[in-house]
Symmetry: C2
Subunit: 295 residues, 2 copies
């Protein structure tokens, strides 16, 4: 696992360097929103989604430069979603990744605008010829990430999660909400490689299965960290799901049931990697990491 | 002018029909955000930007279906920007186009999410093969609208406009801010046709000049309407610029000076249309309309 953590950190560093180059400099009278964008996107973070995009992409021999640009775009979308989710009118969080959230460090207007601009930048990055020599591939990336992030994906999931009354929620409802809220973007990460390269449909299906199960496992362990972890470990406020009456996997399955379910899903995710043999070892370690992570 | 208004309304209706078909149905547990998107995008509006895109596009023989999809995407971006600009943490407006703003009709969280989803949808529409047979053209549309809407365009302009202290602002500062905040998207509208078709560079430059001057004239008349118009006419709160200490063209040039400047810019905008002869008559009327509009 230590070796894996080194690889994860190394990938995170490379994505941060790429992001730093792609984000506009914070100058001019609009500097404040640019600073806030950089604060949010370049701050500490595991960069799990970029890591998945890069590792899946390597398995299908996608070009490194293309992968890095897609990983950066993915992180822009993820960072935007965190900024907006943290707003007072949404989840109202003051701390994220161990630092003040964007609206606390700056102000609410700047946070709304920084999120908007990061989302917009993601599409600008993907549309640029440097992302892939064939514009049809770039359009496919854009269409897919837009679908994953939009009203029937991430935004829709957050809308469902904001519902006031969740008393009647069962495991199917929570699963659907989480598939949209976090699963869709994780699935996109696994799609990047197949879109960039000319791999066959069965590879794409394997990645889809892997991302689907891993995404759900990731969300369950997120719920577990919120229920069991400390703020010091997770870098954000914990116990808030219970406090806000949020329906969670832990709330319905209990701590032990949720742990069992996460383990089952991770095993299932790894099964999807069988066709790749030893070459997928890093992705298997990523799946195991989801179970053991403390933040 | 009456004939022009009929054309403007007809184009607006066709864009509304296209938007209605492109916006997701408001069903499922995420229905609320979908309803808010439809409320904002399908509500009353002049659809000036879509109109410009369609009319400039017709002059260069772009395909009607392509133009309508681009017009719809443009209106999604415009509608998103209005939703977010109206938020309490931004301009704090309760009324827009004669109806409650989105955060008043729904709530703040829904307004943030509906704006996010409309912005995302714009890119999904543009990336789709129906927008243009050549993916390179679609990528160019996406790259250009992202640049116009992002941190160095519309979002940056709004950030500058949110600055607390504007006492030292001169005409150059306001002009730069308005070029970013509203001019960039209006310029994109005029770029759509040249990107979709194979017209030569001089046509593109003419459109750019036209859009540049018209965009500024449009903003000056916006300031004049805020200073002189009534809420009944404009469908939004007026006099707010003065109330919020906003730096405006009227504040610096005075009412008469601003009117002169708008007239000069509209004449200049029309000069750019000379190469098109009578075929550009509708665009000339659009320029005149900017001077006479009451909302």
């Amino acid at each position: 696992m230590t070796e894996f953590l080194v690889q994860l950190e190394e990938a995170a560093d490379r994505v941060t360097v790429a992001l730093d180059a792609l984000l506009p400099r914070s100058d001019g009278p609009e500097a404040k929103v640019l600073e806030a964008m950089r604060y949010a996107a370049l701050g500490p973070g595991k960069r799990i989604r970029p890591f998945l995009a890069i590792e899946c992409g390597r398995l299908v021999h996608a070009e490194e430069r293309s992968l890095l640009r897609c990983a950066a775009a993915l992180e822009c979308v993820h960072a935007y979603s965190l900024i907006h989710d943290d707003l007072p009118c949404m989840d109202d969080d003051d701390v994220r990744r161990g630092r003040p959230t964007v609206h606390k460090e700056y102000d609410e207007a700047t946070a709304v605008l920084a999120g908007d601009a990061l989302l917009t930048l993601a599409f600008e990055i993907l549309a640029h010829p440097d992302t892939h020599g064939h514009s049809a591939r770039r359009c496919e990336l854009i269409a897919r990430i837009a679908a994953a992030a939009g009203a029937r994906g991430m935004v829709g999931g957050q809308m469902i999660d904001m519902a006031a009354d969740k008393s009647g929620w069962d495991i199917a409802t929570i699963t659907r909400m989480q598939r949209m809220k976090t699963g869709a973007l994780i699935s996109f990460a696994a799609e990047v490689g197949p879109i960039l390269s000319d791999c066959d449909a069965s590879v794409r299906r394997s990645f889809e299965g892997f991302a689907h199960d891993l995404g759900l496992a990731f969300q369950i362990t997120d719920d577990l960290l919120d229920a069991e972890g400390s703020s010091e470990e997770t870098g954000k406020r914990t116990g808030k799901d219970r406090g806000q009456g949020k329906a969670t996997f832990v709330g319905i399955l209990g701590v032990d049931g949720a742990k069992d379910q996460a383990r089952r899903l991770v095993a299932q995710a790894k099964d999807h990697l069988d066709p790749f043999g030893e070459r997928a070892e890093t992705l298997r370690q990523a799946a195991d990491y989801v179970l053991t992570r403390r933040a």
